[in-house]
């Protein structure tokens, strides 16, 4: 399973940068039924967190109304060189992580 992360490689100190993430997940709502009437159990990502050099700067609670392959765009102030770490947590013990580095001048 893949994720697409878009973080600028370089920024000037104080710049406001856009961060975009896209990750593979079916986001099964838990409200759908199969043709023979069985409920398809919910299987979604429930939480997304972004940490910048260890400090949480953005978090999201996701519900079944978020489309499959969740896309998130948000902003951050480029303070220092380092790493952005991303974490997705969901139903059935789902967990995945990714990271991206930035050079701040």
């Amino acid at each position: 399973m893949a994720a697409l992360i878009n973080v600028p490689a370089k920024a000037r100190r104080g710049d406001v940068i856009e961060i975009r993430t896209l990750t593979s997940h079916i986001m099964e709502t838990g409200f759908r039924h199969t043709a023979d009437g069985k409920l398809v159990p919910r299987d979604i990502i429930t939480s997304f967190t972004c940490r910048y050099n260890g400090t949480e700067i953005f978090r999201a609670d996701l519900f079944p109304a978020i489309a499959a392959n969740p896309y998130l765009s948000f902003f951050a102030v480029a303070k220092e060189s380092g790493r952005f770490e991303f974490e997705w947590i969901g139903d059935n013990g789902y967990s995945s992580t990714a990271s991206a580095s930035i050079t701040v001048e």
Partner: protein, 258 residues
């Protein structure tokens, strides 16, 4: 007149007039041109195009050894960026051994059977979609030329006949909507020309990547017809006709469509 000039002139005559009811080459439009700006934006940026998630998975599979032959696609084909460039724009392609055209999905499974000694990947499975998306992505921007092979012609004709054939409880043929009524609206939704420029593509409706065969089957369900099976000669012929009908349009894989 030289032989070459005669051939060129004959080719021009053969290529120029579209058959009655068909869309002339300079009027052919990708489904992209029927979409709103937000869906276009989703396709245009690789980091927001969800189809790219499948291309990434396909890239991994390309390099992964599989089957009892313990071979990866890359072991024979090398770097897909050069070896697969333009290939998908020629598919479905005539296979001399089988004596019939095969789709890109079928080619991948033939490679698995013959060279990797691996089980075929099921139609619409994530791995098959990912591999075909990765291969077709290498043709992004290449002009579609499928059906140019003279040996493929009878199959293009078969596909054309199927395209013109009314079917289902609603008794409609593909041509009734996609040649005669594109740009009109079926309820609120615009009818496109049905040019298969971006398959496999990410449909917002599906919330996943899907093949042209899946799309054809859902159109058939729409007119309340019995859809042809995946990989059936009829679907392959239709796919081949549709690709030849889109001749000259650039590949967009992975496209995004509503």
């Amino acid at each position: 007149m030289s032989v070459w000039r005669a051939i060129a002139a004959a080719a021009l005559v053969a290529a120029a007039p579209a058959l009655a009811g068909e869309i002339p080459p300079d009027a052919r439009r990708s489904g992209y041109s029927f979409m709103g700006p937000d869906t276009r934006a989703m396709q245009d940026d690789d980091t927001s195009n969800p189809g790219m998630l499948f291309v990434l998975d396909g890239e991994q599979l390309w390099g992964k050894k599989t089957g009892s032959a313990e071979k990866a696609c890359a072991d024979c084909h090398g770097d897909a960026r050069s070896s697969m460039k333009g290939v998908a724009a020629r598919y479905p392609a005539f296979d001399k051994t089988l004596g019939r055209p095969v789709t890109l999905d079928q080619r991948i499974n033939l490679c698995r059977a013959n060279h990797q000694k691996a089980a075929p990947l099921p139609y619409e499975s994530r791995d098959l979609l990912a591999l075909s998306a990765f291969v077709a992505h290498q043709s992004r921007g290449a002009a579609i030329t499928a059906g140019d092979d003279p040996q493929a012609k009878p199959f293009v004709e078969q596909g054309r006949d199927l395209f013109m054939q009314r079917e289902g409880q609603l008794n409609l043929a593909c041509t009734n909507c996609h040649d005669d009524n594109f740009d009109k609206r079926l309820a609120g939704a615009p009818i496109t020309q049905g040019q298969p420029t971006g398959y496999p593509l990410y449909r917002l409706e599906w919330q996943t990547l899907g093949s042209l065969e899946r799309r054809l089957r859902s159109c058939m369900s729409g007119v309340r017809a019995q859809a042809y099976d995946y990989g059936s000669p009829e679907l392959v012929a239709l796919e081949l006709y549709l690709m030849s009908r889109a001749r000259g349009l650039p590949m967009e894989t992975p496209a995004v469509r509503p």
